[in-house]
């Protein structure tokens, strides 16, 4: 044995931290999508978990029905979910912008029930297996733990997506329009930019991120209609802690809380499910707008 750190074997400590980082990758991807949507539409997208599930299911259906493999699914599934998002925004969500934002929450809650219920009705609640792509089979022995290659890939992929999204929004011209439209849509419209279309595309992009997370999750977790419903509440808490609408806050908090959860699993496993919510309460007491949020 290699000795211990704070009375804990390093194997357990680093292992759980690494698993925490993997979970954090999903939190970050999902909360990033939520934050982008909230920033632009002021809608908390309750259907986010259902769309994440849909992403995984589309990938599974493509594999089992059409023989389309993982790598194509990684591209196509988010596109399909994004298109579905366009339809939702155009036909339903857009009718509610003049009303209280709470109606957006209620509407997407109903949508989540419908999407989840439909998949559940069709495929039952037990998970469908999705094989790990051949290129990512096997794993690395890191000394303190055996890291399956695929899980390593998830961390890398999520980091790349999160960082490039952040750069796109903070550093590019398109991102500048987006941020401006968030602050003052009327003014931006006056500059000749089609704000409604921008809103639609933002929503589509946000839910496509959820779809992407779903495809990434498919080989790890079983593809199950309920896979999103339990995750989504944690992701909500992540967004509240990070500060709603803050992109950087969502991403950093996502990874941070994943790690923290991993750490809790080592020292006090019973609390690992509630640690995120405890953190949320503490943050709200000290900084009601969230860690990276601005008081509006």
């Amino acid at each position: 044995m290699m000795g211990t750190i704070f009375g804990i074997p390093p194997q357990a400590l680093f292992g759980q931290l690494l698993l925490g980082l993997i979970n954090g990758s999903f939190y970050a991807l999902l909360s990033l999508g939520l934050a982008v949507i909230f920033g632009m539409l002021n809608v908390i997208n309750f259907a986010h978990g259902a769309l994440y599930m849909m992403g995984a299911f589309v990938a599974w259906l493509m594999l089992t029905q059409l023989g389309i493999g993982y790598w194509w699914a990684l591209l196509l599934s988010p596109l399909i979910v994004g298109l579905f998002g366009v339809v939702l925004e155009k036909t339903l969500l857009s009718r509610l912008y003049k009303l209280d934002h709470l109606y957006g929450l209620l509407l997407t809650f109903g949508l989540a029930l419908i999407v989840e219920g439909a998949f559940r009705h069709q495929y039952g609640v037990s998970g469908q297996p999705y094989p790990i792509p051949d290129a990512l089979k096997g794993g690395q022995n890191l000394g303190f733990m055996f890291l399956p290659n695929y899980r390593g890939w998830v961390v890398v992929a999520s980091l790349v997506v999160c960082i490039s999204t952040w750069i796109a929004i903070e550093k590019t011209k398109l991102g500048a329009y987006l941020r401006a439209a968030t602050e003052n849509p009327v003014l931006v419209q006056a500059f000749g930019i089609n704000v409604p279309r921008m809103i639609t595309l933002t929503y589509a992009f946000g839910v496509a991120l959820a779809g992407l997370a779903g495809v990434l999750a498919a080989p790890i977790y079983q593809v199950s209609p309920l896979m999103g419903s339990n995750l989504i509440i944690v992701v909500f808490a992540v967004v509240v802690i990070g500060g709603m609408g803050s992109i950087l806050g969502a991403v950093l908090t996502g990874y941070g809380l994943g790690l923290l959860e991993g750490l809790t699993k080592v020292f006090y496993p019973e609390a690992s499910n509630i640690v995120v919510f405890v953190i949320m309460v503490v943050v709200l007491m000290i900084k009601p707008a969230g860690l990276f949020g601005r008081e509006r």
Binding site: N42, I44, L92, R95, L96, L99, D100, H101, L102, Y103, L105, L106, L107, F109, G110, L111, A112, L113, I114, V115, E116, G117, A118, R120, H121, S229, I233, V234, F236, A237, V239, V240, M244, E270, N273, I274, F277, V278, M280, V281, L284, M285, P288
Partner: protein, 331 residues
Amino acid sequence: MSLHSQSSGRASAKAAQASATGPTATRIGALVALAALLAVPFLLYPVFLMKVLCFALFACAFNLLIGFGGLLSFGHAAFFGSAAYVTAHTVKVWGLPPELGILLGTAASALLGILFGSIAIRRQGIYFAMITLALSQMVFFLALQLPFTHGEDGIQAVPRGVLFGVFDLNNPLAMYYTVLGVFLIGFAIIWRTVHSPFGQVLKAIRENEPRAISLGYRTDRYKLLAFVLSASLAGLAGGTKAIVFQLATLTDVTWQMSGEVVLMTLLGGMGTLTGPVIGAALVVTLENYLAATSLPVPVVIGCIFVACVLVFRRGIAGEIQARLGKKSRES
């Protein structure tokens, strides 16, 4: 806030109307309703009716907060479910009589309400909804892990016991009239609250909080009090349900349950007194009916949700009142 401003105008219009048409009409209506409630267990399956009454009280409690206080809580299952657990535990393990068990359950929910309320009322609107949701999810995980709740199994085989040492609740009729009594007490408290000066201040806060503050009201206190009252009544409903079904399980503390009570209130009519009762009765009946068919329940419920939000925001009772109000104004 636009979420309630629509219904609020109507609520006050309705109040005016009620006084205009005279208390007799209302009184007759109430008497007819009461007679129906007393007679109905001879016609329908009592357990089903008790379920309706428990959820009706739960929805009324929720409505007190959203309809009259303008606060959308997405975590009311926490109060409903915790009370169910506390009642079930005290009755089964401590051997308390049912009335004490329900009281303790209600008290536990009140305490939880103070705790959650003091955290959540610092924010409004969507933030308030998210915070209550997250807090209730914490309660869910506690219910999953605390030893006394027995995790996935829940607390089972809760004895119904003997009410006040006289009425044996194993008799379905005795149980039904007990639940009816609890419901009427809860409903009376809500009615009294809404029509009290406290209720008026609450409405004032809902309409324009800064103005209420400038008038010298300590709005946070009013909001907290409304929150705690709503939590306690939700607890009363949850504790009663635990006695009726002799169970307390995780289903009662899930966020889906919080969503369900939102739907009941939305469907029946936010900010109306009878709306939540109608909504609860409809939703419970529908679920009961759908369970026997092959139609997936959540999909149907979700569709109703979407339809309510898009085209039917006043709810059933709200819609009826609006029609009646229009007619009386025209005539």
